[in-house]
């Protein structure tokens, strides 16, 4: 359904782009008040140990030291660092400080001092004695008989009724069965059964975690933080510090990237308690090494996948068993592993579906939310197996996907079976242009010239692979976003909303939605977001929700304000509302005899008669999570002598409904794709035998630079999602899921060798080639 829009669907300039390009002081470190104290953390050097004694007396007496925090002098409140809705589907297994450390990089004590150097010196003077415990460094060992119990403290629990067995190091379990995968496998003409695995990775936002807290003049505390979830920060810090929510104001200014890792509440408790106890502003920024080790990571997941099909290429069964390593704490443990199933299993129609997900604790860095959120991990399994199954059937993998993928009007039992911490929500697919994505992407990459691996010879071999993808848009019947709009006398509008722009451009996109619904231009919308004192609530930026969910709240609110404008204009023009039409920031009689501008209307409402503020507030929840769809294509060159893989070309065709701002939607896709390529080929955590990350530096953890990047072509394939604002669905997460399977399939097409474990470094590819 095509509709003509004035603002929506146009690539208006991101409203903060010039300010950012001019280097205006808009980020947390730029706003630190003078005289702020600095935090340095003493991190655990041991993977698993009990703190038997801690002596901070020398440190406390050192120059400039104002406060030392440790388990002996802070509130002991079990909570989760996962910034999720309440009650969180993550276990309350974390304390501000504990007498036990559970991974190398866990908190031991914080020093707050006048300068960072003084704080660092004092950290070195803290004397800690540890009783070192046996560590679990392999997720396969976590629930074996006699394994050390990582969370043996009595307070640990999950605030919702889901399976939780800390005594077995099991942080979460989930599962579902439709029909019988075993019967499907037994009866299948063709079947496959493989185990795939994805690896540790970090989000690497260019700005690490950073926050400060400042005592306000009214006795409250203001926290300014680089977060995706300001309202969850307020709630969880109030919980952790045992203070009322009203005692805190949380502000998110511009933030230097998030990608999920800033859905995690990691610094705010320390700076807030520091500010409360010292009466001074307290500032803390992670170093890059701390960001790698002590922030959050992508849960490594091992996926056993089974698929069954008839000889005609019809899928008859799909079974997925995921073992997720959540590391030392259960942040997002349940929901990430759940999404590994719920986001990828509905992609192909199947009468028999099986899923289990288990998340286990280990004494390794902690998993968390990371763009893609489980679907990145399981897409490797599903999309590589589909490729292999098609080959076994003698079918083009592209045709196999076209034959089996879910379409408009269809549903999947998975939607109802798997929710986030509770049953899911039944939904049928509204908009789906996956078929067009596959066809357009195939044409762009030159699918027909891919050839067969056995015909490829020589040192350098090229290959083309693809992946089909789906994700969601918001968490239905859980997430809520709200917005308020008020009108000013020049006809401009303040749009206040809780939605959190982490660099994605959501302030612009939501401003466009408001401008469209109000028939004005984007420059008349003054956007202010993410301030718990000033803006209405929003769950925050995660689960691909902002455009779809918060955008609907903005649209609803703008429509209410539009009605108020009409009402005032009708009284001004002495006519009925039905005689009026709004266009171009004007209200005019349909017969063309009279009109008033928005400025006239607002001024009238403030000063002339029946004075009142034109404005309103709306909130929104969603009843479905319409998936965006995408088809990704990678062309690679493999150096068969060294195993080095180079991506020559990449095409991502994406159906995100209406792209509210096409350039920003392309930018989301391109950024996610390159992050995914970098994850597939070079990024990895190297641990030593004691669980210490060996490459916690951008020198040794390679993310792609501009020179490494292949040409990335984004094709936006428009559809119209009736339940979304102006037809929009999400775009932010789906794009990161394609590179791993598309590259693996391309490597197979080049060399005839299948890869089941990421990353595909030169070494792993070379070894796989050597083994044949």
């Amino acid at each position: 359904m095509k509709r003509k829009h004035q603002v929506v669907g146009h690539s208006v300039r991101k409203i903060d782009a010039l300010s950012l390009a001019c280097g205006k002081p808009m980020f947390v470190p730029d706003l630190v008040p003078p005289g702020a104290l600095h935090v340095k953390m003493l991190w655990s050097p041991h993977a698993h140990a009990r703190i038997t004694s801690i002596d901070t007396s020398v440190a406390e007496a050192m120059p400039g030291v104002k406060l030392v925090l440790h388990h002996g002098n802070v509130p002991r409140v079990a909570h989760t660092t996962a910034g999720q809705g309440f009650p969180e589907p993550s276990p309350y297994d974390t304390f501000m400080f504990d007498h036990k450390v559970r991974f190398v990089g866990d908190r031991v004590a914080a020093v707050i001092a006048e300068t960072p150097e003084q704080a660092a010196a004092a950290v070195g003077a803290i004397k800690v004695e540890y009783d070192i415990l046996e560590a679990v460094l392999d997720p396969h060992d976590a629930d074996r008989e006699g394994a050390p119990v990582i969370h043996d403290q009595p307070e640990t629990h999950v605030p919702i009724p889901v399976p939780y067995e800390p005594e077995k190091n099991v942080a979460a379990r989930v599962g579902m069965d439709i029909g019988s995968i075993d019967d499907a496998m037994a009866a299948a003409d063709v079947s496959l059964d493989h185990t795939y695995a994805t690896h540790y990775a970090q989000h690497v936002p260019m700005e690490p975690h950073v926050a400060f807290a400042e005592p306000a003049n009214d006795g409250r505390i203001t926290i300014v933080t680089s977060t995706q979830v300001p309202f969850h920060v307020r709630r969880i810090i109030a919980q952790t510090l045992e203070i009322p929510v009203r005692q805190l104001r949380v502000i998110k200014p511009r933030i230097g990237g998030g990608f999920g890792v800033k859905q995690e509440i990691l610094l705010e408790d320390v700076v807030a308690l520091g500010a409360i106890r010292t009466g001074r502003p307290v500032y803390w920024k992670y170093t890059r090494a701390e960001e790698f080790i002590s922030a959050r990571t992508r849960h490594p997941i091992e996926t056993r996948l089974r698929m069954a099909a008839t000889k005609d290429g019809v899928v008859t069964g799909i079974g997925m068993d995921c073992l997720s390593n959540t590391g030392a704490y259960g942040s997002h443990a349940l929901t990430v592993v759940c999404n590994a199933g719920s986001k990828m299993l509905p992609l192909y129609r199947s009468p028999n579906i099986h899923f289990t997900g288990t998340a286990v604790y280990t004494n390794l860095p902690v998993g968390g939310a990371y763009r893609g959120y489980g679907a990145t991990q399981s897409s490797l399994a599903v999309e590589c197996m589909v490729d292999e199954l098609a080959e076994k059937l003698g079918m083009d993998p592209l045709q196999f996907r076209l034959k089996n993928h879910i379409r408009s009007g269809e549903t999947s039992p998975v939607f109802r079976a798997l929710g986030e911490g509770k049953a899911g929500v039944e939904q049928s697919i509204g908009s789906c242009k996956l078929e067009q994505c596959i066809k357009l992407g195939a044409k762009e990459i030159g699918w027909r010239r891919r050839g067969r691996p056995e015909n490829k010879k020589g040192r350098y071999r090229t290959g083309i692979g693809m992946a089909a993808l789906m994700q969601g848009s918001s968490i239905p019947e859980i997430d809520m976003g709200a917005a308020s709009i008020k009108m000013n006398e020049d006809g401009s509008f303040n749009l206040l909303m809780g939605a959190t722009d982490l660099g994605t451009g959501s302030d612009t996109v939501l401003g466009q939605i408001a401008a469209e619904a109000l028939s004005t231009t984007i420059d008349k919308i003054l956007v202010y977001s993410s301030d718990t004192d000033m803006t209405p609530f929003d769950v925050g930026a995660y689960a691909s929700s902002t455009t779809y969910l918060s955008g609907s709240a903005v649209r609803n609110c703008a429509e209410k304000v539009r009605k108020q404008i009409l009402k005032v204009a009708a009284s001004m023009l002495d006519c009925k509302v039905g005689e009026l039409a709004i266009a171009d920031a004007m209200v005019a009689k349909k017969d063309g005899t009279a009109s008033v501008s928005f400025a006239d209307v607002a001024t009238h409402s403030m000063y002339a008669s029946d004075q009142h503020q034109i404005g309103d507030m709306s909130s929104h929840i969603t009843h479905k999570s319409p998936p965006p769809f995408s088809a990704h294509f990678a062309e690679v060159e493999v150096d068969t002598w060294t195993g080095a893989v180079k991506v020559l070309n990449y095409v991502a065709a994406v159906d995100c409904g209406t792209a509210i701002n096409p350039k920003l939607a392309e930018g989301q896709t391109e950024g996610g794709v390159l992050n995914g390529i970098s994850f597939a080929l070079t990024e990895d955590y190297r641990f030593n035998s004691r669980g210490v990350m060996q490459n916690a530096s951008l020198m040794h953890y390679k993310i792609f630079s501009m020179r490494d990047k292949p040409p990335i072509k984004t094709i936006l394939v428009p559809s119209y999602e009736k339940t979304g604002p102006f037809g929009a669905k999400s775009v932010s997460e789906i794009c990161i899921n394609g590179p791993i399977p598309a590259i693996a399939n391309a490597i197979y097409n080049a060399t005839g060798v299948r890869l089941y474990r990421s990353p595909f470094t030169a070494e792993t590819v070379w070894r796989a080639l050597a083994e044949g």
């Binding site: 991101k14 280097g23 989000h203 660099g503 392309e666 950024g671 996610g672 501009m706």
Partner: protein, 156 residues
């Protein structure tokens, strides 16, 4: 022992007290030039880039004292919201600014190249900006913005 240095910062001659161990990034931020970001503090991410005598320098690695007698520029000097430099304008117009944390440094690196070579090839551009990491954009829009500016859209 502190040292007194004289240098030109964004067109203004300054005499400054610096500690021998102070990094240039710290000095810049202390002077209020907050466009100079510190993303890694280990000379990898490039967000701390400044121009010293027209050449890009990672200010997290350089000592503040090393700019004695030299000319230092940051994006604050290149343009303003009302009068942006063409690079700033091009990046904003192309949708190349997402979180924007890397962008001031990216602008300076592009400025260095375009001053020397106003019509670089896409390959020259990619090589020149190799030291400025960005995690949001995949570099596509940054590249296309700058190549349009260089009048070589067709090369991308």
């Amino acid at each position: 022992m502190n040292r007194t240095i004289s240098c030109t910062i964004n067109g203004t001659e300054r005499t400054l007290e610096v500690e021998p161990s102070e990094k240039l990034s710290s000095l810049m931020r202390r002077l209020g030039l907050k466009s100079v970001k510190v993303g890694c503090n280990e000379g990898c991410c490039g967000t701390c880039t400044v121009l010293v005598d027209g050449r890009t320098v990672y200010s997290c690695l350089a000592y503040a004292a090393s700019v004695d007698g030299r000319n230092v520029r940051t994006v604050e000097h290149l343009g303003s919201i009302d009068r942006p430099n063409p690079i700033q304008q091009a990046l904003a117009d192309e949708g190349a600014v997402q979180c924007g944390f890397c962008i001031p440094a990216m602008v300076l690196s592009a400025e260095e190249l375009l001053e020397k070579n106003p019509r670089p090839t896409a390959d020259e551009m990619r090589k020149h900006l190799d030291g400025n990491l960005c995690r949001c954009t995949g570099y596509e829009k940054i590249e296309s913005a700058l190549m349009k500016l260089a009048g070589k859209e067709e090369d991308v």
